[in-house]
Amino acid sequence: MNQIRTIMKRDWPAIILVPSGLTIMTIFLALAGYLFASQVAVTQQATLRYLFRSLGLLCVLVAPLITMRLLAEELHNGTFEVLATAPLRDRDIVLGKFLAGWKCFTLWTLPMFGYLLALEIVGAPDWGAALAGYIGLQLLAALLIAIGLFCSSLTSSQILAAMAAILVGLALSLSSGAAHHARGAMRGVLLFLDTQSHLGVFRRGVLDTRSIFFFVGTTAMFLYLTIRSIESRRWKFGVVPGALTVAWRHRTLACALFALAGLLLLHLVFVRASGRLWTAWQWAELTVLFALALVPLALNRKSIAQFLQRRRYAVVVTVLLNSLLVLAVWGLLMFLASRHYYRKDLTADNRHVLSAQTVALLKTLETPLEIYIIEDEPADLFQQINDLADEYAAHNKLIVVNRIDPNRQPAYIEKLQRRFNLPAEPKGELIIAYRDDFRRIPARAMVTIPFAELRGRVVRGAPRFDGEAELTGVLLNMLHTDPGRVVFLAGHGERDPWQTGPQGLSAVAERLRKSGWTVDRRVISPGRLATFADDAKVVVVAGPRRSLSDENRAALGQFLDRGGGVLLMLEPHQENGLEALIEPWNVRIGRDIVVDLSDYAGQADPTSLYVSRFEETAAVGKAMSGLAVVMPTARRISVTRQNLRPEVTVRNFMHTSGSGWAVYAEPHERFSINPERDRRGPISLGAMCERYQELREPGREPLRGRLLVLGDADFAVNQYVDMAGNLDLFLNGVDWLADRQGVLGARPKAVGAPTLTMTRAHIQLLFWVSVVVIPAGALLIGVSALRKRRKAA
């Protein structure tokens, strides 16, 4: 380790603390600063991800500038002989030089954290995402430096070394482009080798073990090859005249058999390359090929053994086998890494974490799912769509994402138009193809613009990207049958699914529609009690402010008897007249208000509950596992132990903490806890009931039905539905009532774009800080370090 440090100690100042090194650093930082300032000004986003994309490509050019002299210069000047004859291992030399190069790059890019500080002035940058991007950039640089070092070890010409490193770096950066022209495994390999797409994962703010293993593993492989390359400079074993011509027995026969095997090999390669099916005949050919090659080897085994026993051949064979082994280990590592991986989203709002529902859905794919993204403006929306598609593809290899630029690939667009029989050229949309089915999603549909009521006026909120909900909804429709109809009961002051104001339910209705549901709002007509909602699967009674009449209760009862599902969301202090309906289900509604002295939401009072305790043994509770629900006010929903009905299964599935109380309080009255009167927690806030009863009358269907009773209705209104897992509770409840077990789980979330509102002064500030202050500061530090070094010497 000391030797590595010693090598590093000489090399890194030789690269950076010299006038040429400081000049390159200053230019690099000024260029990066310019890119950063212009990208932030154009995109109006407090992010470094666009900068990291540019730097990823710039690295391909910059890393060889660092590495070209590391070994090539030593070989050219003869100083390598000094190193090689000192008591050092080759790996010490290579690792020392690699770490020196990497340290230089890290020092060059370290001032970029200044960009984040500058962004703090104009907005709130996402430090987690920036950190992930920075890690990705460093890993990419490590790989490019290892490649550069390898090229530098092959030649004593610095220019050649740099050009070779740039070529290899570019090839790896553009391999995904070549993948479009390849098929099968080769396509997968080319896609996997693309360094820029691996960097893209980090740029988005995600740490993915596959990309980390790719960078670390490939860097290690190139370092190993460099060690071997240096070693090979010393082999120079040469060949004893006549030593290569091993005395072969049956020379003519051996040549003929090898030639025959070669022909078969050529044929097999041709079959593979032409994409034809690999049949049993080809396996037979392969077997014959091996047999043909083995015969001469077996006949001459003694000569071969003698041949390999010579020291030089033994070393060469060992090195070749070692290199092959390292390649095989690399391949195995990459294969295992691609199978077993872990992703961690470092972004502040976890924007790239797919919901449990989406992940569960993607696992059920059986055949390839193609996502065609036909790009258009605005670019940032398509950037988000691309990221989303990449996240989907990261969860299942069967998902193939194709990005198409209509201006550059008109032929591809025509092909799509013919394939899906589209009336017009697709543009600015996604086409999802699964089996024989396909769906189109306009890109605009992935953006939700919330409307809210403010002082009696409807105002537009900031647009939010809701792509996951849209895409997952489409996939749900393609993979599952049509979910059916949800009817929101009206006529008793219930919350309205069409109302877009804070107290409306338009957001949940919209999400239900995106999930494939048909949403309806109905009153119970006096003459049609028996057929109320007979085309629906679920009826939602969302916080009635007036009592339901007996007829209405009867209509709901009949709907339940027919096997329907009813979601009752009941506000405290409001008479609803539903006790009679609920009682046969072993559920009782408390005439109280629930408070929780430890788990209450934010700055609100203890009546605003933050409920995170769910029973995982109950279906909805399990689906809500890890989530929480904010209930502005709630009443107790308890299971009654009197007159238990055996045909009904009832479960409390959510409750407060032990510090919760069910308090008797009048409306608008400040609550006070009376331990003798009030009930201490945990207080149940929701009950799931399921019924199955065979009827004695012949010919009658058994009684079925599901009932979900929640002690609050406001949690689902537009004002609160985006909080925590409120939407999840509502949607999971509806899906459980409709017996759609497969889709229960945490739901996709809409994410807001981290846009900035920048003034001209802000833009100028960013420009000065990033293009002038940071490079100049770095240059000053570099110059003072250079002077200090000279003085010390």
């Binding site: 000391n2 030797q3 010693t6 090598i7 100690k9 000489r10 030789a14 010299v18 000047n77 003869g78 100083t79 002989e81 000094v82 190193l83 090689a84 004859t85 000192a86 008591p87 050092l88 010393r234 082999w235 120079k236 074993f237 040469g238 060949v239 004893v240 005249p241 020291r311 030089r312 000279r790 010390a792 010497a793």
Partner: protein, 336 residues
């Protein structure tokens, strides 16, 4: 290490570069404390031998031991026993002298306060103290050579290997460098490869002549000279029948050939090459008996250069590379 262990030894060492033979079955053993000069024409295999010795490259076959350590199996130990100044003295020109020496100390595993001590021990004898703060690129070739030598000696190695150490130096620098090497001779086993034969002759107590990958002569310079071919000049009073008598007279002496015959009025100068024992006594007797009056008979002074050329020619003659027309016997006969 046993005192009797040779400083380094080659046992049937061969080295091949492709089909070209670098070293061919070289066997050699050098005692500790020797100052060995490695001589040979360009491409003879001097640098190959040195590179194998310094563990820069492995031999194709055979065994090389440094202080008893096999260079293939105990490479690091062998390298610690040696200090090496490669040909052309490669140095990091962007470093300062002290910085470079300090760095070399760390590379050699010298740490802490020992660094300054080690540097002082070598910088003083090498005379680089006044230049210690200079950038290496600013030094003259001679001082760069001294810095390289100082770096090679930092860890007080048993053996110092110097490949062409005086190439490119001016005569004064060569003289200074020679004086430096003479002082080092007391503390190290020195192996110097050089083209400058006078230098080797002056400095070394053992000379190894290498040609076409083979060791053609090993020994002390004086012993080599003694074993080598010698030239004699015989001056006598000219007589009319001397050219007729001369071949007959020389035929009666063992292992001599006529190199030249010059007649200058009353005096004759005859040049003779002797291939064996000293023929002067026999020649004097024969000439006196034949009635030829001898004025002078002396052996020419022989240099290492003569020994070297003699061995190289001998090898070339064995391989038929020097045409027989250049054979001194023939030239003498023609003259006669």
């Amino acid at each position: 290490m046993n005192v009797d262990t040779p400083a380094f030894e080659f046992e049937h060492v061969s080295k091949y570069y492709g089909r070209h033979v670098g070293l061919n079955d070289v066997s050699l053993s050098i005692r500790r404390g020797a100052l060995v000069g490695l001589l040979g024409p360009n491409g003879a295999g001097k640098t190959t031998a040195i590179r194998i010795l310094t563990c820069y490259m492995p031999p194709s076959s055979g065994v090389v031991r440094v202080c008893g350590n096999d260079v293939l199996t105990h490479t690091r130990v062998a390298q610690r026993c040696m200090g090496y100044l490669p040909e052309n003295c490669p140095l990091y020109h962007d470093m300062r002298v002290m910085e470079y020496l300090r760095w070399m100390c760390e590379l050699r595993g010298i740490g802490g306060s020992d660094i300054e001590k080690a540097i002082f021990n070598v910088a003083e004898p090498c005379g680089i103290m006044p230049w210690r703060s200079r950038l290496i690129r600013e030094l003259s070739k001679g001082y760069r050579q001294r810095v390289g030598l100082a770096a090679a000696m930092l860890h007080e190695p048993e053996i110092l290997v110097l490949d062409e150490p005086t190439v490119g130096l001016d005569p004064i620098q060569v003289q200074q460098f020679r004086a430096l090497l003479s002082r080092l001779k007391e503390r190290h086993t020195l192996l110097i490869s050089s083209h400058v034969l006078s230098e080797i002759e002056m400095l070394c107590d053992t000379v190894v002549i290498i040609h076409q990958g083979r060791v053609v002569a090993v020994g002390a310079p004086e012993a080599l000279k003694a074993d080598s071919t010698r030239h004699y000049t015989l001056e006598c009073v000219s007589t009319r029948n001397l050219p007729v008598l001369l071949p007959g007279l020389l035929n009666r002496v063992e292992a001599v050939t006529l190199d030249g015959f010059e007649e200058d009025g009353r005096r004759c100068i005859i040049r003779i090459t002797g291939h064996g024992a000293d023929p002067r006594r026999a020649l004097a007797r024969l000439f006196t008996e034949a009635g030829i009056e001898l004025i002078d008979l002396h052996a020419e002074r022989i240099s290492l250069e003569d020994v070297f050329i003699d061995h190289i020619r001998g090898c070339a003659r064995e391989e038929g590379m020097i045409p027989m027309a250049s054979d001194p016997d023939k030239r003498g006969a023609e003259h006669a």
